[in-house]
Amino acid sequence: MTQPMKPLLTSRYGIAESWKLANVEPAGAYKVAREALTTRTPEDLKEQVKKANIRGRGGAGFPAGVKWGFLNPGEGEQVYLVINADESEPGTFKDRSIMDLDPHRLIEGAIIACYAIGAPVAYIYVRGELAFSIQRLEEAIAEARAAGYLGDKPFGIDRSIEVYVHSGAGAYICGEETALLNSLEGRRGEPRLKPPFPAVKGVFGMPTIVNNVETIAAVPDIVEMGGEAWSALGRLPGDGGARLYGISGHVKNPGLFEAPVGITMRELIDDYAGGMLGDRPLKAVIPGGSSTPVLDPRRKVDAPNEDHPLHKWHGMSEIDVPMGVDTYRALGTMLGTCCAIVMDDTVNMVEACRNLMRFYKHESCGQCTPCREGTGWLVDVLDNLVHGRGKADDLDLLVNISNNMMGNTICAFADGTAMPMLGMIQKFREEFVEAAKAGVPEGVRHDDSVRSVIEGAA
């Protein structure tokens, strides 16, 4: 089994009232920020983050150090740091723990990052539902300001760094970085066309770096250990460090764990999450949030060619491939947010799929026709299938709709809908065929109305 690592990101979670400065400062909070701001250059810090090979923790896995390198502010342009705490991808619940249990780590990371990229202001955009986490962050920011770590002359250096919390108000799409920027500017959360990318023209038309909470919270450890040493924690090339793994669904011990990059899904389920609930067989696992195509443990990696990136795992189950951004891409899925949803053999995959597609229908911002209409059509067809109104060619229709959504919209939401839809059909086709013939039995069917709007007083 995997040996649990020495905790880094989570090292202060166990401290009593770990959200208070007085309790975490003796455990090292702001030590790195003080050292970084008073003795190191921004270039040095950026170099450490680059060497750390930290792949963005929000889902896309873009190297954070490379992203920071895209900044090239012109004369009179102000750089902004925006921290994406709009954690809403179904199955994902990791960033909330940082904000609830160690908000000072996030603020310390923000201070170092602001100093490194030359941003005087950071906004933390938190989804509106997390009112409690927002409260914790606000209190922690006030403490840090009172201690002289934020505001004018943080740690006495000749700069100003402000960190503000900005509350969203309920919209998954605001996790898409350009939608987030629109929302931050007081607009509807509709994604923007790229280019220009945020590093060139972001919030308020200024160069902006958008990073996930976990990415920024890792910065103090990266700076303290040095980029190379931090990177070496991971087990995969070009994908460094340790990260938070979430696991939910049918396991005995669902929750959040910190482990090196590159453990396998089987390790996560068996060695961390206590194995399958009721010792039932594992049927399927959605590896990193609902937009990542499902894994089927029956399937074997087929990579006989020696130069295939997955050749080392040829003939092994999909769930024995190390969890990394590049390995999972080669596997035809995505690592995403690294928070898995585990399903046992009682789950009907058509129904599970319908549950998720309802999510996308509800959350599509409606800007682009293929996405606005496509998500609705997918739900309609799946509704027909589960209610026994399906036809044999409905499978082709689902594939056709998905293919017409992919790549035809402003943002990646439609791709994030179509990819898991296609993955479900590819891997559990027999269940869709079955549903087209006979529907899904009543006891297995779940949720028949999507209604999160108010319909007036009863």
């Binding site: 889902g59 108000a169 999160s452």
Partner: protein
């Protein structure tokens, strides 16, 4: 009668306006402040916010209707959001919802006849490891079964929201690894006929895939 914010909240708005280089960026925070005072975003509130921020009422309405947490109709004293998305569904979210409908005497999307509770379905609330869960007003209540849910709802009805939250609400938790002991390991079900499935020869399109959920692209 126009809508007016309390003097303390006006000060809060003034303070928030200093955080942004553009006034309009304060739109969401100001709407939140108004909703906390008024309970919902009435047409009068929209007029007030438009005036205060310096945009048209149409702009405000466009924003209010985009976000699920801004109510453009009155709601009950407490708003109960029950998560319906997959992780909660796998752990019995449906029974939580059905129990709430029975207990409150209204279906999702409606307000109980005593005006105390509005029941709404929510999409994933980022608490999947502690599923099933509900959000009531500003707080999360996790790892629920119907008995616990009864206690929580009753506490809201009898002691008020703050007292109920102090007693029952939950925040994020961190797990310790629990290796499966002696129990069967993740045994895969029997393989399908086409055992070896060829990998996609192309990586998935778009380096930046999904949106939402803390995107990092």
């Amino acid at each position: 009668m126009g809508f007016l914010l309390s003097p303390e909240r006006e000060t809060q708005v003034d303070q928030i306006l200093t955080r942004y280089p553009e006034r309009r960026a304060a739109l969401l925070p100001v709407l939140w402040i108004c909703q906390r005072q008024n309970g919902w975003i009435s047409p009068e509130v929209m007029d007030y916010v438009a005036e205060r921020i310096g945009v048209s009422t149409a702009v405000v309405k466009g924003v209010v209707t985009f976000y699920t947490m801004f109510f453009d109709e009155p709601v009950g004293e407490n708003v109960v959001w029950v998560c319906r998305t997959l992780s909660c569904d796998l752990r019995g979210g449906k029974s939580i919802q059905e129990h709430l409908e029975k207990k409150l005497g209204c279906t999702a999307g409606h307000t109980s006849s005593d005006g105390k509770f509005t029941l709404l379905k929510a999409e994933c609330l980022a608490a999947c490891g502690q599923a099933p869960m509900v959000q009531i007003n500003d707080y999360y209540y996790e790892d629920l079964d119907v008995e616990q849910l009864d206690r929580i709802i009753d506490a809201h009805a009898t002691q008020g929201a703050e007292a109920a939250a102090a007693e029952f609400s939950t925040h994020a938790r961190f797990g310790s690894p629990q290796p499966s002991q002696g129990a069967p390991k993740t045994s895969a079900p029997p393989p399908p006929s086409d055992e070896a499935v060829r990998l996609a020869s192309q990586p998935p399109p778009a380096a930046e895939t999904n949106s939402g959920g803390g995107e990092d692209a």
